[in-house]
């Protein structure tokens, strides 16, 4: 069960990355104004294109998950590195959190748990299929047709202009979700994403999102203490015929 649950965080990474985006080329004011006037579909396409066509994107993320039973939500923080075509990394800042790397070139899928002093290693093709698709074929995300509509929402006590996207491509643990995305008004880069289903919702805030002109492949390198053990991670073997998503 440990191996299975270890992988779930990777799906959140996929969710974060899938939801990334910004206007086409830069955060210049003129472009922002143009984007604001653009049709919702076009504006969202521009948002997504900027991230998925980047050499690398780095961001701090705050993820808040609601309690389906009505209790208080739960917040966690971490960092994401996304290198379209190459790989993806999510590192939790929480105590006992994981550091997950999917590296297409190295053909590896690594889950490091500092609390256990173990790095779980698997081949690239054992990484969740949605993550692999995100890395291998970011263009497919851009080609997907979202039904976007303008919608204002209250975020942290402030009304934000954003777009409601009705498409269930985000997979992960909320398959039938409605997604709302809004750009940071200062940079034009994506800042807030909410994915909500009938039972619960997840809010992701990208802080300090940076688009790099050149990928730093070292960002996908795990710096591990020398006494860390390596164990195999082969999640699909846990279930006959199971397919990681």
């Amino acid at each position: 069960m440990k191996k299975a649950v270890s992988l779930r965080i990777s799906a959140v990474v996929a969710l974060c990355a899938l939801a990334w985006g910004a206007q086409a080329a830069g955060p210049q004011p003129a472009r922002k104004r143009a984007a604001a006037q653009a049709a919702p579909q076009e504006a969202v396409d521009r948002m997504l294109a900027r991230v998925f066509r980047a050499a690398e994107v780095r961001s701090r993320v705050t993820i808040t998950r609601s309690d389906p039973f009505g209790g208080p939500g739960e917040r966690s923080q971490g960092r994401v590195w996304f290198l379209p075509g190459r790989g993806l990394r999510y590192r939790s800042d929480e105590k006992g959190g994981e550091d997950i790397v999917v590296d297409r070139e190295q053909r590896t899928f690594l889950v490091y748990r500092p609390s256990e002093q173990v790095v779980y290693r698997a081949d690239w093709d054992r990484a969740p299929a949605r993550m692999r698709q995100l890395i291998e074929e970011p263009e497919r995300i851009l080609e997907a047709k979202f039904r976007a509509a303008r919608e204002r929402r209250l975020v942290g006590g402030v009304w934000r202009e954003g777009y409601r996207m009705q498409r269930a491509t985000l997979g992960d643990s909320l398959p039938s979700v409605a997604v709302w995305i809004a750009a940071d008004p200062g940079t034009g880069l994506p800042r807030w994403i909410t994915a909500g289903g009938s039972e619960d919702s997840i809010d992701v805030e990208f802080r300090s999102l940076t688009i790099l002109p050149k990928a730093v492949t070292g960002d996908l390198h795990l710096s591990l203490p020398h006494d860390v053990r390596t164990e195999p991670l082969d999640p699909r073997d846990l279930l006959p015929g199971g397919e990681s998503r």
């Binding site: 069960m1 440990k2 779930r8 808040t64 739960e74 643990s173 997840i202």
Partner: protein
């Protein structure tokens, strides 16, 4: 689950029957639906250790549990009497069906073992009412049977708080599960142990409870939406049964364990 608000510290009882009455009044009283949040760590024999977080909500014989790793919803499970539903979201796979005691999966026993501080479940309360009680280690010891489910021993501290529970499932191959109760804490819904530890088949599961509160019964969903592309197995299929046994840590041919 517990606890009427006035049971902060129970006085030492002078006789077994008084200790029983006091325990039933404090720990087996009727209560409304409740929810909780906890950290869970699982250590399986020879397989290292894992951890996750769980949220649960329970109402009478029904229980819904959601497991998370980080902020990601990883697993849903529900139990309504003998009806079990498990969804492993990451794999888009699930299993549902009726648990059968003769196949080593007793739904109602599982329900109690999932929240073993909830002595108010009718079947459990009934067992306690009929159990033998004797002094033990400065406290008290209940011994009895839960219908056909198995034999149990419940030990109370000097103050009448649950300290440990041992349950041996019925049948020749009935396995034993042990439960240890941590010191009690005050929560919104009452006093319950701050942690619970289950031991069985070389595995140890520790639940550290962070939040325990009343819940609106209408917010408890036992049947989450199932996507059309998910692979749903029946519990009476070999794959479905194997999945449930793997999740519950049950050896083939063994008996229900949490």
């Amino acid at each position: 689950m517990v606890l009427a608000s006035g049971c902060a510290r129970l006085p030492k009882q002078s006789s077994g029957s008084r200790a029983r009455d006091r325990f039933l009044a404090a720990y087996a009283a009727a209560h409304g639906p409740e929810r909780g949040v906890a950290a869970i760590s699982v250590k399986r024999a020879g397989k290292g250790q894992g951890s996750a977080r769980v949220r649960w909500a329970a109402n009478q014989e029904s229980l819904a549990v959601i497991g998370y790793v980080g902020p990601t919803r990883a697993l849903d499970a529900s139990l309504q009497g003998d009806e079990l539903l498990v969804l492993v979201r990451h794999y888009d796979v699930g299993v549902s069906g009726k648990l059968r005691r003769e196949e080593g999966l007793d739904g109602r026993l599982l329900r109690f073992l999932a929240t073993p501080w909830d002595f108010g479940l009718p079947r459990v309360r009934g067992a306690l009412e009929h159990a033998a009680i004797e002094p033990a280690g400065g406290g008290w010891r209940f011994q009895g049977g839960i219908e056909e489910g198995g034999r149990f021993t419940l030990e109370l501290s000097e103050r009448g708080e649950p300290r440990s529970l041992s349950l041996r499932a019925a049948g020749e191959r009935g396995q034993e599960i042990r439960v240890r109760y941590g010191p009690e804490r005050n929560y919104t819904a009452g006093r319950i142990p701050g942690w619970i530890e289950w031991s069985f088949s070389g595995s140890v599961v520790l639940l550290t409870i962070e939040d325990f509160a009343p819940v609106d019964a209408s917010k408890i969903r036992y049947r989450p939406a199932i996507e059309p592309e998910w692979r749903m197995l029946a519990l009476d299929e070999p794959d479905g049964s194997a999945l449930v046994r793997w999740l519950l840590g049950i050896d083939e041919g063994g008996t229900a364990e949490p």
